[in-house]
């Protein structure tokens, strides 16, 4: 495990994945896919406000908002027929939405490799989730500079 501490919420998610046998991890990922909240109307009607993530093999769009009190809110849009991508987005939403900008920025980039999904999902697919995290962090840094 890495020296960089994971936020307790991310730790809990990583713990959940690692606690179930490999045969049930995809099911858990599917639950995160199903838990991804729908896009609010203001984005659904103005899709160009969302940033595309071309590293994902299926189209994924995301938006980052920062509250006046520095809480980060994340919005994702991915088609229903891309449950893996939705699952990755669901994990990031469950783990990061509502945290402070500093807490999100402190998320280690290698978080995506701590879910025990490499054999089940393949590193290439996991790269899409790493790219989402990278873009979220970049957007936060840009807002603050």
């Amino acid at each position: 495990m890495t020296a960089t501490a994971l936020h307790p919420r991310l730790q809990e998610i990583a713990g959940e994945f690692n606690a179930v046998p490999e045969s049930e991890r995809l099911q858990l990922l599917l639950e995160f896919a199903q838990g991804l909240p729908p896009l609010p109307a203001r984005y659904a009607t103005q899709h160009d406000l969302l940033e595309p993530v071309p590293e994902c093999q299926t189209p994924l769009f995301l938006a980052v908002e920062i509250d006046p009190d520095a809480a980060v809110h994340l919005f994702f849009d991915a088609p229903q027929e891309a449950p893996t991508t939705r699952g990755f987005a669901g994990i990031l939403h469950a783990g990061l939405d509502g945290l402070s900008a500093d807490e999100v920025l402190a998320t280690p980039d290698e978080f995506t490799s701590q879910l025990g999904l490499q054999h089940l999902v393949s590193p290439l697919r996991l790269r899409g989730m790493a790219a989402m995290l990278g873009r979220i962090k970049r957007q936060i840094r840009e807002r603050r500079s």
Binding site: L26, Q27, L29, L30, A33, P54, E55, Q57, T58, E81, A82, P83, T84, T85, G87, H119, L120, V121, S122, L124, R125, R127, A131, G134, R135, R138
Partner: protein, 298 residues
């Protein structure tokens, strides 16, 4: 032990009759009508590794390109022994009629079919229109994964000499017909200049010198089925200038989209010499001193 197996009937759909190898395709109707037949295994192969879990054709097994067909260490496909174990675990025998289908206009299903062809599985078929068509027609789906008894699938070594091309062979092939099936932006080498996010998979953008651009999707109709033969001939022969006796190499980024075009050229148009260069752009674009061409011209 002598076992008598009766091959499943071929699909006599009129559209297929025009293709060079009509036996390689079945319609969704055909699959729906044969689901209970012993001797048939339907396998779903998707880009998205979770899609099967959200619902699939009743009785269909899952066959994953990434985690099952590749050897994780050698950057190659599994070997004969591993392929035999894989087929056995899916309840597939050497006599099984294996029907493949999947998402994304059957890219991945065509890819799986191409890999199974390397092992010479005798009866392989693709369900025309794939997953999208089955679902669009409101046909039955289930989330239940079937448990099939293990089989004794024989160990058959992979034959990489007929339908697969390696980089050195493609280098020797330069000047002969090559089809790049990626999107136009990938072909020209246009890069996404996003800060901090290097172009996925390759250091250089462009195409193999001499390759013509025919995006794979041109062979697919709106409903994900293959276009009729006459339309395919117009695309590949009249436009791209291929001739049926050409020695053709097709490629994409990792060899999956080009499996779709390989299927079209070899099985639908009947070209005998078509090879898929599965190293594709992730290998070619990164290789030291291997020539590339940028821009719109071959």
């Amino acid at each position: 032990m002598v076992r008598w197996t009766v091959a499943l009937p071929y699909d006599s759909a009129a559209k297929f009759a025009d293709y060079a190898h009509p036996r390689m395709l079945v319609t969704t109707e055909w699959v729906a009508g044969h689901l209970e037949d012993p001797g048939l295994v339907v396998a779903e192969s998707d880009e998205d590794v979770l899609l099967y879990e959200t619902g699939h054709i009743p009785g269909a097994v899952k066959l994953d390109w990434h985690t099952e067909l590749n050897d994780p260490v050698t950057r190659d496909y599994v070997d004969g022994a591993a392929f035999a174990r894989l087929m056995s675990s899916k309840g597939i025998t050497r006599d099984t009629t294996l029907v493949l289908y999947g998402d994304r206009n059957n890219w991945w299903a065509a890819y799986a079919l191409w890999v199974c062809s390397l092992f010479g599985h005798p009866d392989l078929r693709l369900m025309d229109g794939g997953r999208a068509k089955w679902f669009a027609e409101g046909r039955p789906v289930t989330t239940e994964a079937p448990q099939r008894p293990l089989t004794d699938y024989p160990v058959v070594e992979r034959d990489d000499t007929q339908i697969r091309a390696f980089q050195d062979q493609v280098l020797a092939h330069l000047g002969k017909p090559l089809i790049d099936v990626r999107s136009p932006g990938e072909y020209t080498g246009e890069l996404l200049h996003m800060p901090d996010y290097p172009q996925e998979g390759a250091l250089r953008g462009g195409h193999i010198p001499g390759a013509k651009s025919v995006p794979w999707s041109r062979a697919a109709a709106e409903d994900a089925t293959f276009r009729p033969r006459a339309e395919l001939e117009a695309i590949y022969q009249d436009e791209a200038g291929l001739r049926p006796d050409d020695d053709v190499v097709v490629y994409c980024r990792i060899g999956e989209r080009s499996s779709h075009t390989w299927f079209v050229l070899h099985h639908l148009l009947g070209y005998p010499h078509v090879r898929n260069y599965d190293g594709s752009w992730t290998e070619w674009g990164n290789s030291v001193r291997v020539p590339i061409t940028r821009g719109e011209n071959p």
